[in-house]
């Protein structure tokens, strides 16, 4: 148990540090913080031009989806960076618990996603003058954290695909774009075709964004608990699928000796 905890905590911490190459924190600012705000401004003005929804809709939607960026890319990088530094094979032959290994890597990534989303929310609201009831702040923080966890679940699926496919950055972008389009972030779900809004119910972010919008509109935590439960359930489902796929692709890669070739 202590051994698994060590893999979870120390492994996760080292992996997180390696993710950014913490020689200089400016990377954190220019990769995650600034683009999260410029994205909000782009969609807020696009929304104004289209005459669909107000600034609050876009600030909340894009702030919450900002959690997905570090979660998707961060988790994918935990595999691709290992391959790049030629340590993936060592990792795969190690007896370390995969559950502890990946959850250890997921925990700081999820927290990171929540921090980025929180930053985007605060700055986006200040810049565009979106007011948030004081009573909504704590429930909003919880909503953002739950969304970060759900996105990390999808990030684990994304990471597992990195065992089979070298172009994980491409895949992360593809998933992110799909979230922007279909998760109710920028286009209201009722404007999307029925099949697309049905798919959206199985995506992380969809329920988190809806909960955040309800809170900003004056709803209470009790009102949004079902939505948060749905968001968490979606995230846990993806995490379970991701861990299963890690096992599956790892076994396939070992059989085919294709780990470094993917």
């Amino acid at each position: 148990m202590t051994y698994r905890l060590r893999v979870f905590a120390i492994g996760g911490f080292l992996s997180y540090r390696a993710l950014f190459g913490w020689l200089n924190p400016y990377l954190f600012v220019i990769i995650l913080l600034v683009p999260s705000v410029t994205q909000i401004l782009f969609f807020a003005y696009l929304g104004r031009a289209a005459g669909v929804e107000d600034d609050t809709f876009y600030v909340v939607g894009n702030a919450v989806v900002a959690a997905a960026v570090p979660c998707l890319f961060g988790m994918a990088d935990t595999i691709t960076d290992e391959r790049y530094t030629h340590t993936l094979s060592l990792l795969v032959v190690s007896p370390a618990s995969r559950l502890a290994l990946f959850l250890g890597r997921a925990a700081p990534v999820a927290a990171n996603g929540a921090i980025v989303a929180g930053f985007a929310f605060v700055v986006g609201s200040l810049v565009l003058g979106v007011s948030v009831p004081l009573s909504a702040l704590l429930p909003l923080a919880l909503t953002i954290l739950v969304t970060g966890l759900a996105c990390t679940g999808l990030g684990i699926v994304n990471a597992s695909l990195g065992l089979r496919w070298r172009e994980s950055a491409l895949l992360s972008n593809l998933i992110l774009y799909f979230l922007l389009l279909a998760a109710g972030v920028n286009v209201p779900l009722d404007l999307l075709p029925g099949w697309l809004s049905t798919i959206a119910q199985g995506l992380p972010v969809t329920h988190g964004v809806e909960a955040a919008r309800e809170l900003v509109a004056g709803g209470s935590l009790a009102d949004v608990l079902p939505l948060l439960g749905a968001e968490l359930l979606v995230g846990l489902s993806y995490a379970a699928l991701g861990l299963f796929l890690v096992r599956l692709f790892e076994a396939q890669a070992r059989r085919g000796a294709s780990l470094e070739l993917a």
Partner: protein, 257 residues
């Protein structure tokens, strides 16, 4: 003659090479598809015909800019990582003649983005782009791409000291999408934004293509601005390269940045 041949061979080589980069192709094809779809759903009901046709051009340019701002800005960092930068700097050819064909080739890949967006809205949404002035359109496309490529050249030169140049370049993605009128009419933005947008080639390239296609006004002044800005970016890029590379050579830090 030797210089012209180097420019042409460099451009052709990099155009072919980068055309096989799956990530670049994804940006060029994925960006217009996703943003044209969003524009369609958002503008549906309020904006039709010319509006969506302009959106098709706009999302095409978004793809071009998205690739240029990251890939061109990182062109030198990539050569540094592959161990080529010192060899290229030491070559007898002026260094600008090595970098400019790379960044122009990257932005030239944008023709894929433009074609994708125009075909997409034509096939899926039935919006065809009737070109009002074919001559102006045929001139505006390469000049617009050249101007964006030269802006990428200037960014690449400015970020030569940054190991994470792609990330620094990426900072410009959403701001330029927002202020240059690619998808959002400039009239919706604060008044102070417009003069800032004039500094960026995508503003003029988009105006030129929109006017040539839709015939709202003459595109030739915008085409002229694309040519002018190409020269200005080129001169600034050469000066920046001279300054940064000179400093890096003096300190022996070319490979260390």
């Amino acid at each position: 003659m030797r210089l012209a041949r180097s420019l042409l061979v460099g451009w052709s080589l990099h155009f072919k090479q980068e055309s096989r980069n799956p990530f670049f192709l994804y940006i060029l094809i994925g960006t217009p598809l996703i943003y044209a779809t969003m524009a369609y759903f958002l503008f549906r009901g309020g904006k039709q015909g010319d509006g969506l046709a302009a959106a098709a051009l706009g999302t095409g340019f978004m793809g071009i800019w998205s690739l240029t701002t990251t890939a061109a800005a990182a062109a030198l960092a990539q050569r540094r990582r592959s161990g080529l930068l010192e060899l290229l700097v030491a070559a007898p050819l002026p260094f600008w003649a090595i970098l400019a064909p790379i960044t122009i080739a990257i932005s030239a890949l944008g023709v894929y983005s433009l074609l994708t967006s125009m075909l997409y809205v034509r096939v899926l949404y039935g919006v065809s782009l009737e070109i009002d002035d074919w001559l102006a359109f045929a001139v505006a496309v390469p000049l617009g791409i050249l101007a964006i490529g030269m802006l990428g050249f200037m960014l690449g030169a400015a970020f030569v000291r940054f190991r994470a140049a792609w990330a620094v370049g990426n900072l410009f993605e959403f701001p330029v999408w927002t202020i240059c009128g690619l998808l959002i009419p400039i009239a919706v933005l604060p008044a102070w934004v417009e003069p800032v947008a004039w500094l960026f080639a995508p503003t003029w390239a988009m105006n030129a293509l929109r006017d040539a296609a839709l015939g709202a006004s003459t595109p030739w002044d915008d085409v002229a601005m694309c040519a002018t800005l190409s020269v200005v970016y080129g001169v600034l890029g050469v000066l920046l390269l001279r300054f940064f590379l000179g400093a890096a050579r003096r300190r022996g830090t070319l490979a260390l940045s």
